[in-house]
């Protein structure tokens, strides 16, 4: 069989034995080797393909924590403050005023034929509009006839118009709910805060209730975003994986031109711990190359910006009450024990440091009962862990996947409101994690923040907030560490580091094809590195050629 050898301007291998190469040879979707043309010619027949001669190749980037739902959300109107690229490559300008939000929504409403159809938008970030809250009268300017609902960027607030309140029977006085502020007229202002207040409005504003179980167009759109951001493997971190979704995902990812490998985790929900283990074992057995199943996700607490993360003393900087548990501790322990016994992996969402403590206590106890080398359990977000916790994480053999994008999007709020200056500066302590020898990944949690490992790497290297503050100089990491983290680091947490994450003999031929060299542009410009597309399993995907 003939190999294809690609010369490139530069190949960054992540293989410390030969960190750079000029050529890479590919056969049967795998890497024969990286090196010089003479070295690779030794493999026998080859065809030289010069299309990447002026490109930089990196191992295909690995997003260790995203949600395929990012693809589904693009069916709704993007209302964010920051520029964001959609799956078709169009960059939607960030909306810098409430008027601009209204204008974009009104334009979308004008394009709808059915006058009664609801209109849904997402990623509104009201914190950037000078303290002025978005209210139903703003959204009434979009439409008075159809229900309009816009999901906040943090996912914790839904803004609706008057019609939506009417449909939900909430345009009345006497509504007494902590998540529903009332105006001077005694009627709800249209801000629905928290899942309890949002729930009654979802169906009226066009948000499908199964948004978290992925839909087919969303899964396809998600993959196009992967190509545009250099991602060849992406974790879909909290799917409920009902049977019909599994069948659809197997079919779609199995199509010859599906460009990404999806690692979909089954979230603990709607099953007992025992049933969860059975289901995960069954799912694991149905994995294919481009759809990996069988890892379990447990959500221990809420989010910091939503004040629902479980924080240790002294709690939130603004005095908000301690957050919420999303899993009973007994269940967490039981899942850990059963998973260790069955050889399954568990990723646990712990945002607050108290939630991290709980996960560590459960892990310590479960490991005593079921010692398991290389269990590769991972703490996801783990945003507030301190040095002592990282040492314990290391001792228990856990990995962490930290969330540096938070610094950029919410860092100023964390500093001023949620956790206060000191803890804001140590949040997502990438440097401490590396120093303590903890296996590290970093993530976007797309759609919470945009998919894009190079942007995430930039966040970890610079720790810059939206206002320009450097949030914790001491926790910045170097470019080389950041690049390793978005390839091999993330692959390790998914148990795929033997297959992907570096350009080495025997691994999958997964490359990020770049126009610029991330090693030489400088940490400041990492986020500006241009992506040409990807090679996934030896198949070439050029972003500019993606169909819709």
């Amino acid at each position: 069989m003939t190999a294809t050898i690609y010369p490139a301007a530069r190949i960054i291998t992540m293989n410390p034995a030969r960190p750079h190469a000029t050529h890479v040879a590919v056969r049967e979707g795998r890497i024969l080797g990286a090196g010089t043309l003479e070295e690779l010619a030794g493999w026998g027949d080859y065809r030289l393909d010069g299309r990447f001669a002026d490109k930089v190749l990196m191992p295909g980037l690995v997003e260790g924590h995203s949600h395929v739902m990012e693809g589904s959300l693009w069916a709704y109107v993007y209302c964010g403050f920051f520029d964001r690229m959609d799956p078709e490559g169009r960059v939607w300008a960030g909306l810098k005023s409430i008027d601009a939000v209204v204008e974009r929504l009104a334009e979308a409403a004008g394009a709808l034929e059915d006058p009664a159809a609801p209109l849904a938008g997402w990623s509104l970030d009201a914190i950037y509009y000078g303290g002025r809250r978005v209210n139903r009268h703003d959204l009434d300017r979009v439409s008075e006839e159809r229900a309009v609902g816009v999901l906040n960027a943090s996912g914790h607030i839904l803004n609706v118009n008057t019609r939506a309140l009417e449909l939900a029977g909430l345009l009345r006085t006497g509504v007494n709910h902590p998540g529903i502020p009332l105006g001077a007229d005694g009627l709800p202002t249209g801000e629905m805060k928290g899942p309890d207040a949002m729930a009654p409005l979802g169906v009226h504003t066009g948000f499908d209730r199964d948004l978290l179980a992925c839909d087919e167009p969303g899964l396809r759109r998600f993959a196009r975003l992967c190509v545009r951001t250099g991602v060849t493997t992406a974790a879909d971190l909290a799917n409920l994986l009902p049977e019909d979704a599994v069948e659809m995902m197997l079919r779609v990812t199995g199509e010859p031109d599906y460009p990404a490998r999806i690692v979909s985790l089954r979230r603990f929900y709607g099953l007992t711990p025992e049933e969860l283990i059975d289901r995960a074992l069954e799912l694991r057995g149905r994995s294919r190359d481009r759809l990996r199943l069988g890892i379990i996700k447990v959500v221990a607490d809420g989010s910091i910006q939503g004040f629902s993360a479980r924080l240790r003393w002294p709690g939130y900087y603004n005095g908000a009450p301690e957050g919420l548990w999303y899993v009973p501790p007994e269940h967490l322990l039981e899942i850990y024990e059963r998973a260790l016994a069955a050889g399954l992996r568990v990723h646990t969402h712990t945002n607050g440091d108290e939630a991290t403590d709980l996960a560590l206590d459960c892990m310590e106890s479960a490991l005593r009962k079921h010692p398991a080398p290389d269990h590769r359990f991972t703490l996801q977000h783990c945003q507030l862990a301190d040095a002592a916790q990282f040492r314990r994480i290391r001792a228990l053999g856990l990995c962490v996947n930290l969330f540096p994008n938070h610094h950029f999007y919410w860092g100023d709020q964390h500093y001023a409101v949620t956790v206060g200056p000191e803890r804001a500066e140590r949040m997502n302590a990438c440097a401490t994690a590396l120093r303590e020898g903890v296996p590290l990944a970093i993530h976007s949690d797309a759609p919470v923040t945009p998919l894009g490992p190079l942007f995430t790497a930039w966040c970890a290297v610079n720790r810059r907030t939206a206002s320009g503050r450097t949030l914790g100089e001491h926790e910045r990491i170097g470019t080389a560490d950041a690049l390793r983290t978005i390839t091999l680091g993330a692959a390790y947490t998914l148990g795929l580091d033997g297959e992907v994450g570096s350009i080495e003999t025997g691994k999958r031929a997964d490359f990020a094809v770049l126009e610029d060299d991330p090693e030489t542009v400088g940490g400041e410009r990492l986020k500006d590195v241009r992506v040409w597309g990807t090679v996934q399993g030896g198949r070439i995907f050029r972003a500019a050629d993606l169909g819709t």
Binding site: D196, A199, P200, G270, W325, V327, P329, L358
Partner: protein, 301 residues
């Protein structure tokens, strides 16, 4: 009552092992013609004794006596809507919250939904473990908030706890607004746990189905002519009288009938059909409830 009013929903909360499932099964056994719908929380096993199950399909399990059970999975709101649309419609929904959920938060959502009426939040406390849990490093604040959000606390497993009196006194401070009753094996009269009486099941007559050996007492009251239903409801819910439940109908001073309902300190007054019979039933603990004093307070209303 003729027209189907809003569907009453009772939230059942409490930490793991406190007896939520046992309570649900006990209520199913007492249903006596009432069609109960049970909603199971996101981590729950099917909480129903096999002997009560008649048939099961993908989303819903049919139980003896026309009761049903479903899991609320991802979406509380749509699951409630599905139950509401069943034919025949259930008479009452029992929503079993997860061990770490706040019954007050769920109750808040139910209170926002059209077509549903919150009947109350019942929280179970395991007499043996509740104080320990309330001081647990991880769970303490959650357990205390759950108790504090209860309308009714069932202090369960009293047969196993040697110090039930102490626990009860402690709960009086931890959850000052909740009314409390002691249970073993979560056995509590359905007419206390569920307030909404329907046409199908007659309201309990005074002194009727209540077993005095368990210490419950019920009394019928005639609502005074000309009293405002809201003022009367406030008296019935006043902790001073220690009522667990009150329910009935009365004529509004301005005409039309009102339905009054209380559970612990929570009260609601809603419009009632014109043919609803005036009268109130009050249920309390024999040792705690001074019906004579209550009657005097009502007459002064």
């Amino acid at each position: 009552m003729t027209a189907a009013g809003p569907l009453p929903v009772t939230v059942v909360g409490g930490y793991l092992g406190a007896g939520k499932t046992t309570l649900v099964n006990s209520l199913l056994r007492q249903a006596n013609g009432r069609r109960l719908a049970i909603m199971v929380n996101e981590f729950g096993a099917l909480p129903i004794d096999a002997s009560l199950v008649e048939a099961a399909d993908e989303r819903i399990v049919s139980l003896v006596g026309g009761c049903v059970c479903c899991s609320y999975g991802e979406d509380l709101v749509s699951s409630l809507a599905m139950l509401e649309a069943l034919a025949p419609r259930p008479d009452h929904v029992l929503l079993e919250a997860s061990g770490v959920a706040f019954p007050g938060a769920i109750a808040g959502t139910v209170g926002l939904l059209q077509g549903f009426a919150l009947d109350g939040a019942v929280v179970l406390a395991d007499a043996e473990t509740v104080r320990g849990r309330a001081h647990d490093r991880y769970l303490g604040s959650t357990v205390r908030r759950q108790l504090d959000q209860a309308d009714l606390i069932l202090l369960n497993k009293c047969d196993l706890a040697g110090d039930a009196d102490e626990v009860e006194a402690w709960l009086g401070e931890a959850a000052p607004d909740a009314r409390l009753l002691r249970t073993t094996r979560a056995e509590a009269p359905i007419d206390i746990v569920l307030g909404a009486w329907t046409g199908r099941a007659a309201p309990p007559a005074a002194g009727g189905p209540f077993d005095h050996t368990q210490g419950y007492a019920a009394a019928a009251l005639d609502p005074p002519e000309g009293a405002e239903p809201e003022a009367l409801a406030r008296i019935l819910a006043d902790a001073a009288h220690g009522l667990l439940r009150a329910k009935g109908f009365m004529r509004r001073p301005g005409g039309g009938m009102a339905a009054i309902q209380t559970v612990g300190s929570r009260w609601t007054v809603t419009d009632a059909p014109a043919d609803a019979p005036a009268g109130l039933i009050c249920i309390g603990l024999e040792a705690r409830t001074d019906f004579a004093a209550l009657r005097r307070a009502v007459l002064d209303c």
